[in-house]
Symmetry: D2
């Protein structure tokens, strides 16, 4: 059994790691840390884990973490970079769910995250944990930078088109919407049920942190800069991201349905729906699947890609475990073969 | 007092007409029809109207309707066109909330609505009930074709840009989302709470009935054909439409914020938010206001317009009453000056 | 026009006062205070009030408040009692929405609210603002203690039975459920959408602050102590309280339906539904109505009363305005004759 | 591997059986029937099962069903009784999720379900599938009548008290609330999102089908008739039942917390929370656990029991699988050890 540590386990991605790893056949969480909840049983904070997870939160301790085979960081941005070097130095692998190692351009990272990066040397060592594009590198990595939730959905929705070189890189639009859990488990008036339920709005329309991350990923696939307009929205739901992506075909003879089906034929977690479909976020609720449908309204130049994922699963903790499975030569689906919870 | 009749009062737009007209200082609903609920008090079907509305549903009767000053049709598409000619002939004005008289090209209407139009001669007589563009004609009209819910939001979001001639007409995108009440009060598995709550999806991505209506309206303003990509989505909320509109500026020197503020300065129901804002659908819940914010991500070529309205109010019954106010020389805000219900 | 001041206007009851008073024909809000939001336009915090309310928050100032005819306190418990004496001394009437003057037994208040009462002498001067029982006293009062949201629903549900003396006072159960807005507009993890939506739970099952208030009110009506078991629950909705009340008839010959209908025949805001009905909270969403249905399962000894109200309207700000109307000899329904927002 | 058949697989309990059995280590669904969806892949109706379940719906066929080791009936009331005799005759075990075999008194069943029972002789052969009370009989049974969703929660909440003989049997109240999925996947205006969301109501307050089933179960445990008042309510959530049960202790010295803890100490799916707790329905979302807390307000005579379960899991399909595990001598938790999905 792989010994797993989790740093920063009180948030939703930490709880989701625990939920998913509880059913993992080859991994075992041995330590989970939280400074504020030290000594408190995990199942007291998350009663859904009563009878399933029997660990208390502990203070973060490098020595204890280093006894793990792998440590997940489910911490706010800026935290992992302070501890990861010491853990890597002890030979323990690290999977970071925060944004600390996602962006290669340190200055760009510092601009969007408003802080100085204290471990810039590690950024190039980190592998971006999108198995559908970086699988081989993930298998060999000891430090994974897990993609953000929005970036996962947008990149998976564009990968086949970019690889085929059939869309205009100068004008791509990603109109995305996320459930409120994406904002984390923090006291914040803006995310109260009374502020968000029975309502809908955009946010960050003039600029959002995930934009540079997405553009970096798309440019890498395209081999050229990509100009993306990205507008996130807040859905009155718990979990789920839906991205509606608009691009212009430069080759209108391409069969986009077939392109997507072939590109993802061997991907265990990317499900291309039949032509004419519209994926629902609930179809991946609690599941690591990403579902995609492709449309060409009026059979014209515009291609519309619809992508759904669970922001806490494929958009965070599920994808992190998928990376772990690859790093430890396990079945990629180990512990992750759960259907979405419907209804 | 203006005597009002309502045909087809059992659906949500009928109930919304009743709710709003109950507080109207100069109009009085005297008859409301429903074949299926004949004899049943309105307040039995809609207990929120107990003590407010004291009418029973009756069978539709031309003579009785003709005693009204104005008759609202809140009927399924295809119904109004059968009765409206007789009512108009008796000198009673008509405000139709269905799609029957919205589209000038009869063949186009027949294609999208799947039926033969039985009163094509009336279509050109009908005035499209968008006061922000057709106010003068509405004042003189005896037949109003109320805009669809999505079309209202998209047209209001583009009007200033089109009138200023500052955007590329070849590539406009309207990414819209509506609450479930937009689907009406009909037994339908797809709209059960268990099918729609805690979820989100697109629908009609390859083509939706509102597309030709929107394109017709935009082309009229622009004075040239407009190429629109329109993708509607289903929100797990009761009321509310949010449209996120993307267009390319051909003149990047234009001050879009000022453009919108000036265009709508005298409009009683269109509220342009300060720069940097993001309107929420709940801010117009139950209200006839439409709120708009304009963004230019990275100060580039792309302009992003965010529009919210209540699909049953400004998107249907509220706008219909606004038209009535104009037709009868009342204050345009009469009975409609309600703030959104928050929280 | 009555000049109205509001102290503590940033919370939901303050915003609801503004929403309702905006449509009031005879009252005008002239000042609204908030220390933290001083200088900020109200409509910036509550964009639904844009174009409706044009006031900024100001620092609380006794002189300015004393120029008002009446001041509403929409402040946390313990605040009003510090300022009210000075305002009353200037001849301005006060309507307090907090719990400060609700409980006559000062020691009991101090126990449940965990603080020392600093104006105990005013408690007996305050009139409990439940018009259905204290209308005459309210008309003559200069200090109103508005009932809590749960207490309003439970007392209205039991009033006819207690006055008729037909139920056992030793064993009454009120199983109540409230929307999340009842917890106020405060940063609190427990009330995040991600913590409360798509879920349901009881809270305070072993004791809740509203219990002594309800028992005081019931005992006054009954003329004897009443033993109540009160269990509140948290609903994943914005607004609305539903109380399911269980009592044992000591006289099983009583016609409870008729009892309720007769008791509330002249009450403008209490609506007794036909036998066999089940009121929905949405039927009073945004409305000052309280709807009640009475059942006798199996026609036995047990009477089940179902009561719905909007916790922010009849349960707080609406009832406060109803009291104001009485205190100033206005029509009791002035500004409050709004139907519930459905759907 | 146990060969499983499912009759009537298009509803929510059928889909839940598929979801849970897909992860079962020792059972395999080999046939699933639906007359209306014959030939349609299950995953077309339930896209969350794409890549997980690869079966089409087929016409019900006795021969094929008889090749199964066990057949689940997830059919409307009245259907199973017509087919079950033939299947049992072929030596295949049956687990019926409908009400057909729950009530021993045939006349009582016929009264509440409004039809004639066509297989009354089988009713006494059926074992009531509540493992916490009938485990031994379930192990030996070939026909299981799965308890209703409400009845499961109410019986589990009262079992320890009834067995201990410490409450008054003449006056027990179960105030229950269920998510909308309990109403099934049927076209019905009353269960539209626009009719149920952001709202709450009681229903069946004067009598509900589950009352006789619950009373039968409670009486069997108590060894005497029990007088129950049962009022169900409709929650605007997908899944989840919450029962708030009120009973009067006849022995006030009993330690109810300890009583519950000891009674359920060895039960794999009943989790008694620490004193002072309030279980949330979401803690069992998608899970077979039932969570219970016990309160004694004011330490008095009244005991309040709070019970949560997922109506589709422990309230239907999960419990059915738990019975199957017992009937086939598998680990009782096989395939069911899933935590609730939070958030």
């Amino acid at each position: 059994m792989i010994k797993v540590g989790i740093v920063g386990g009180t948030g939703y991605t930490g709880a989701e790691l625990l939920r998913l790893l509880a059913g993992h056949p080859a991994a075992n969480v041995v330590t989970i840390t939280s400074r504020t909840q030290k000594g408190v049983p995990v199942a007291q904070l998350y009663p859904n884990l009563r009878g399933i997870v029997d660990l208390p939160f502990t203070d973060p301790d490098i020595d204890k973490l280093s006894e793990c085979d792998v440590v997940f960081f489910a911490t706010p941005h800026g935290v992992a970079q302070r501890t990861v070097p010491a853990i890597l130095a002890m030979g323990t692998k690290v999977i970071d769910l925060s944004a600390d190692f996602r962006i290669r351009d340190i200055a760009l990272w510092e601009k969007w995250y408003g802080q100085t990066h204290v471990a810039p040397g590690l950024v190039s060592r980190a592998v971006y944990g999108l198995p559908e594009y970086h699988r081989d590198a993930i298998c060999r990595a000891d430090l994974i930078a897990c993609p953000g939730c929005y970036p996962t959905s947008v990149q998976l929705g564009l990968l086949p088109l970019l690889e085929a070189g059939c869309i205009d890189l100068n004008d791509i639009i990603a109109n995305s919407a996320s459930g409120v859990s994406g904002a984390g488990r923090q006291a914040n008036v803006a995310n109260l049920l009374s502020e968000t339920s029975d309502s809908f709005k955009a946010y960050g329309a003039s600029g959002h942190r995930h934009l540079p991350e997405i553009e970096q990923g798309l440019a890498e696939v395209a081999g050229a800069p990509v100009n993306l307009t990205f507008v996130p929205h807040l859905l009155p739901i718990n979990r789920g991201i839906h991205s509606t992506i608009y691009a212009d075909l430069i080759d209108t003879d391409v069969d986009v349905q077939r392109l997507f089906e072939e590109r993802y034929a061997d991907e265990p977690f990317v499900d291309v729906l039949p032509a004419g479909s519209h994926p629902e976020t609930r179809s991946v609720r609690g599941s690591n699947f990403c579902r995609i449908a492709v449309h060409r309204p009026g059979n014209g130049r515009k291609v519309v890609v619809l992508v759904v994922e669970d922001n806490l699963a494929k958009g965070a903790s599920g994808q992190a475990i998928q990376c772990m499975n690859l790093m430890f030569k396990l079945s990629e689906m180990a512990g992750l073969n759960l259907p979405g919870l419907v209804p």
